[in-house]
Symmetry: C2
Subunit: 443 residues, 2 copies
């Protein structure tokens, strides 16, 4: 069997299993999640998981010794009892959540005895490709289970044994709840993932996590819709009056707390009057090892900076580098952000609330922040529960994607023999009378 | 100037104008819509519109005389005083609607002084290609205006003069409300529309209306996301007990009231015990000139029918033809629909409510109906106000697409200098306390 045949067969079986998963009563999905949390706490299961993970880590450490891998990656790869505790707790939280399926968000009488409703349904089959952290696999798998979606998972190569072992646990948990294990599939390698990207008739959505270049590559390789971030060129604007201490704290956090993250800042813009704040920012960043590159006007004031070139305004450094540009006013700042921003997250630091509100309403991005670090752009920080990815697209899901982004809706109509040709000018008229939807009963 | 340069310039200007349109207070968009309704009722404007339309109709009548066009198309092309009255009324309805922008559907305190909100924003710039009816142009343009989107419109070639005249009115109405007319653009021909499909950096969404083949062609020609229907292979299932009179009425309406519509039925499935209902359906359809093609089991009972081939189960006839297949039970009907349906609209006719509920919950389609004609799948009939198109995709918008499908959301965060690195294990914890969102104040 070719890899294409194997993957297509697995995807077709996942689609079928997903239908069963979605049609099952909510209690079954609750039980599967509870079973998963239980397994993640079970000593025997833990031994298997930690054994598989240890072998991945040993291989990775050899790579580190050979200078082919970073220590940081090994730390992310390693599973621990504490990480498994955290994962089990997160799965418990999802198990306790109200079931998100079959929520009727619109109910409308079209005419006597003819009632329309719009209800949430799963998307169907997802393909998810993610970085080396094996704990991401559990979070993604549990989100899919909660939302009734089948999923084919492709994790980092370095975590191959850990991923296979974790998928076994997800499948076993489904089996414990009498749900079909085939709804969760481990894709072992790149060839299998490539075959999945070709199966546009069997997969409803691809979620791509990783570098912007990788997401762009996935997007270019498939006809399946892809949720992911295009790029993370985020700006912070200093606008007068701008308290220097606040500016330094926010830009330090936005640049230094995780420079490789897509929500890290790449370019700082400053308006006249914010020179003291800019000085505080540069001093703080320099002390943290950040290289600052300035435009000519910025360097006229801060002579020690490297010179920024035009390419800097479109660069996602993912590193301890920051470009700095002077702008004449808020309009020029907005124009720069509109031209060079990637629609991810943009922030303004100022005590001028009116200017901040104008910024919040004028910038076209997934996140627009006032006096807060761009690093808050994250599903966990937003309180969405687990996050399956982040989207810079404007359609379907924008910003951090939680369970809501894994749902579609269907329109159900119940009649008593109603036909459309009875309605129209001079004939019957629709009543279009809204009825209570789910959640409308609150006091 | 090449057509590419012209169209790119118009799209860039539309994007800029769209920003102004979206940032304007709701009252400005109300005024523009009121101005449009007023213009559509103004005798002088009407003379211009009807003159332009008369010339389109005269050309079309020559085509009809030459046998190159159908009478039906001329009827759809022709504007009348009555049609203009209807359009003005529809625009008035949109003007009276609550503004859909900047609705906060989620508001959450993340920590003291750090408040997140998610608010509706326009998508930005739309490209819409639609059939020959010039009245569609007004509906689409008014929907875009109400939702703060800029739009580039490409109507049918036969309506070229009417479309140009109507876009002039939309632009004049924007001007009357001190909004930029550049937000609405008429694309005069196919070359201009092709250039638009290439401008993926300037256009956020393409809405394609027309035949399935045309929508597929548009989808294959652009990197811009396309909303449209893939195909309209709709089924009606007769399930025992199935009242013959209701079955005949529903299938007649679903097949005959507008056979070319994407929500018309193409295949009838019948389960054991529904033979009397099937007989009533065949008798009614035959009297309406429908050609019925049966599977061997169906023809064993109704000998006069043409024979259906395998190709019939995947055919969208768009004509007075219906394929009929006997299925053993509901499972076989569901399997047939899953395999051959296009995810548009599927209906069951039965007095067995339990079977109907199973059908409503098992079929994966934009619309699933019980005892009602598939022809109800329509934005106007659903009470969505105007409809910009219909989507068989599962992402973003599904089924008839009204204003909601023209909106995205942005996450706004207001802090007092908050940084993300203050939070985490052993540090500050998020409060994640939901606050009232817009519309939550109802009693």
């Amino acid at each position: 069997m070719t890899v294409e045949t194997t993957v297509r067969a697995a995807a077709a079986a996942a689609r079928e299993a997903g239908r069963t998963l979605a049609a099952a009563p909510p209690a079954d999905r609750d039980r599967a999640l509870a079973a998963l949390a239980g397994r993640l706490r079970d000593p025997q299961v833990r031994r298997r998981l930690l054994d598989a993970n240890r072998r991945d880590v040993e291989d990775a450490e050899r790579e580190v010794a050979a200078g082919r891998m970073s220590e940081a990656l090994v730390a992310r790869l390693a599973l621990t009892e504490a990480k498994l505790d955290g994962l089990a707790d997160a799965v418990d939280t999802l198990a306790a959540m109200p079931d998100p399926l079959d929520r009727v968000d619109l109910r409308r009488e079209l005419d006597e005895g003819l009632v329309l409703e719009r209800a949430t349904v799963p998307l169907g089959v997802l393909g998810v490709v993610f970085e080396s952290r094996p704990d991401a696999l559990v979070q993604i798998g549990a989100l899919c289970l909660r939302s009734g979606n089948a999923v084919l998972l492709k994790g980092g190569r370095e975590a191959a044994r850990s991923n296979a072992a974790l998928v076994d646990e997800l499948r076993a948990a489904l089996g414990q709840a009498d749900l079909p294990p085939a709804a969760v599939v481990n894709l072992p390698d790149r060839a299998a993932f490539a075959a999945l990207l070709d199966a546009s008739d069997l997969v409803d959505l691809v979620v791509a996590r990783g570098s912007s270049a990788f997401v762009a590559h996935v997007r270019a390789s498939t006809k399946i819709p892809v949720v992911g971030h295009a790029a993370g060129i985020c700006h912070v604007v200093l606008y007068d009056p701008c308290p220097p201490a606040m500016a330094a704290r926010i830009v330090e956090d936005a640049k230094c707390s995780y420079p490789a993250a897509c929500n890290a800042v790449e370019t700082l813009l400053w308006t006249p009057g914010t020179q003291p704040a800019l000085a505080a920012v540069i001093e703080r960043l320099t002390s943290r090892g950040v290289r600052c590159r300035g435009c000519p006007k910025t360097r006229a004031v801060f002579a020690g900076l490297e010179a920024a070139t035009d390419a800097d305004w479109d660069a996602e450094y993912g590193d301890l580098v920051l470009s700095i540009r002077a702008v004449a006013d808020l309009d020029e700042a907005l124009a720069h952000v509109a031209r060079h921003g990637s629609g991810h997250t943009e922030a303004i630091v100022t005590d001028d609330d009116a200017a901040a509100e104008r910024f919040l309403r004028s910038v076209d991005a997934a996140g627009v922040f006032h006096n807060a670090s761009t690093r808050f752009a994250d599903g966990y920080r937003y309180g969405l529960g687990a996050e399956i990815g982040i989207s810079t697209g404007k359609l379907h899901a924008r910003g951090p994607v939680g369970i809501e982004g894994l749902l579609s809706r269907t329109w159900r109509l119940r009649g008593r023999g109603h036909v459309a040709s009875d309605y129209g000018p001079g004939k019957r008229a629709f009543t279009h009378c809204d009825l209570p939807a789910d959640g409308d009963e609150r006091p």
